[in-house]
Amino acid sequence: MMLLPELLSRCAERFPDKSAVVSRSDQISFADLELQSDQVAARLHRLAIGPGDRVAILHDNSVAAIVFFWGILKSGAQTVDMPTLAGAETLANILRECRPKALVTSDKEWNRVMGEIPDALPCIVFSKNDLLPGCKLGHRSFNLLQDICAEETTACPRLRLDESQVAMIVYTSGTTGQPKGVMLSHHNLISNLAASNTLMGLTSEDSILVVVPLHFIHGRMQLLLHTLIGGTVVLSAGFHFPQNVLREILEYRVTGFSGVPYHFVNLAEHTALGRTALPDLRYVLITGGALSPDALRKVIDVLPEVAVHLAYGQTEASPRITYLSPAEVLARPHSIGRALPGVQVEILGNGGRTVPPGTPGEIVVSGPNIMRGYVSGDEVTCGKIDDQGRLHTGDIGTIDDEGYICISGRQSEMIKSAGERIFPREIEAIIDAYPGVSESGVLGVSDQLLGERLVACVVPVADSQVSRDDLRTHCLKSLPFVRTPREFKFVDQLPKTASGKIDRVRLVSLWAEVANRSTVHQDKTPPTEHATLAPCATFEAS
């Protein structure tokens, strides 16, 4: 039996002086990370926060946020990762659902949420920096990291937890439009980390540049995996300027980089990747969506000395489900690999029966990595988990005689844009709330850089003067940029199924029709059409 905090304790014993986490402005050794997170756990214990409680983290990637993360786990409480770019209402809904006892945040995030959703915030707050005095409204307990480190002893009560208990809650998009809190146990995560590294073979000599937010399971996986192996995690300043990411890979001499297809297409197209020697980079891992065979070929061509690994997963599977090794990537460019050790993948056809090899069906997964459930408790009723405990991914695929899996489509309505999992109803609810809108249908259209680009068909009410600019601004006030439709087209009606729901298949046809014909309720301000964000006349290819 093992709990996640033991991964860190082992590293602190084996590599006390080695850098555990490095950022542009900060770094911390494994010994100090162990010490400070013990002190955070002691403070949480003193505040009567422990097993069964939840502590939310609303924080950009930083060393301090990682100290708090480990401190929460050591206290026995569950971490709740909150998406930093989410709108205030989404954050409020998450807080109301999971009811955390405390919140870890930064001054930037605190100022934002305190102004918009003060009543939803917990009374106990943790941060690295002092929060603006004017924002300390209400009777709240504020706990600064420096005070905790100065005041708390490291005597932390021994954890009495079972490995099957929930360690982390990660919020991810849900079919209903509300984010779902995915509950992952210590056993879920440790089994998945161990199985993944059995195949990838990373060692304490490895280090990784993290460009994805740690509130995504993809980011947490990188942090946990490098704590398992005793490797260093380097936090990137961000992916806003891809050339800077290349410089970080070089400067920090990381041996690994993991990203979604959006990152790799960007690095290949908009940086000097092919002309830059990266002597320390040993491997890259592509996950979070399909990279086209051409794009994959290009990544391999510009990184001839680097091993390219592929993985497929979902937050609900902690997250890895399948893996394709560097030796197989070129030979099987359409495959997402085979199931991880201990994980079973089945392809189910209509009626829930296993289909023969080569026949398309839903990819269904079972094993020790499958989540404990959703915070909302509706994982069975919503069909995500079946009566045998299997995870229904919503992805359609085939499996061959050797166990290699290919994804051919999606059963669910999910859209993947720049690696983000988006369900149309979340966006439609925002659009539909705008005055003058009767209803809307959101879909993803193919995009070379983003994978899929969000667009919307909108039915205005009679005599409505609503414009594309109105809707765009309205959406941006509630949604992050990546979740806001790039284009809006006004239509008379949406295609519906017999039960009155939006017919998603016919919606695609409708979009294709109106996108080519601008006479259907011509929006007032035609958008600047970017069929793709791939290199255009304003860019010169590297």
Binding site: D60, T84, L85, K108, G238, F239, H240, F241, P242, Q243, N244, Y262, N266, H270, T271, A272, S417, A418, L449, L450, D469, R472, T473, L476, K477, P480, F481, V482, T528, H530, L533, C536, A537, T538, F539, E540, S542
Partner: protein
């Protein structure tokens, strides 16, 4: 419309409808733009002002704030003779 107003208007309407975005607001450190929004801004700059943006130009120094963006565009729009004159003035 002045170029800085054009840039501010585009960012406020197309990327982040926040009135507090000003000429010297750090667009990405302060969390106003994610990486996909930043790319959109860069594409719009290239198309709107008809300037060629090299991969090497994509840096916080050139695109960190609305004012950085305007300075960058103005440098791009200068002729080689004007740039030479600027350099000579600095040396003098």
């Amino acid at each position: 419309m002045r170029m800085i107003e054009q840039v501010l208007q585009y960012i406020r309407t197309e990327c982040a409808p926040k009135s507090e975005i000003l000429a010297d607001t750090n667009l990405f450190c302060e969390g106003y733009l994610d990486s996909t929004a930043m790319l959109e801004v860069i594409l719009w700059i290239g198309e709107t002002f008809d300037v060629t943006i090299q991969n090497e130009d994509l840096s916080p120094e050139n695109f960190g704030t609305p004012r950085n963006i305007v300075d960058f565009v103005q440098r791009q729009l200068k002729t080689p003779v004007e740039l030479e004159h600027d350099a000579a003035s600095r040396i003098a």
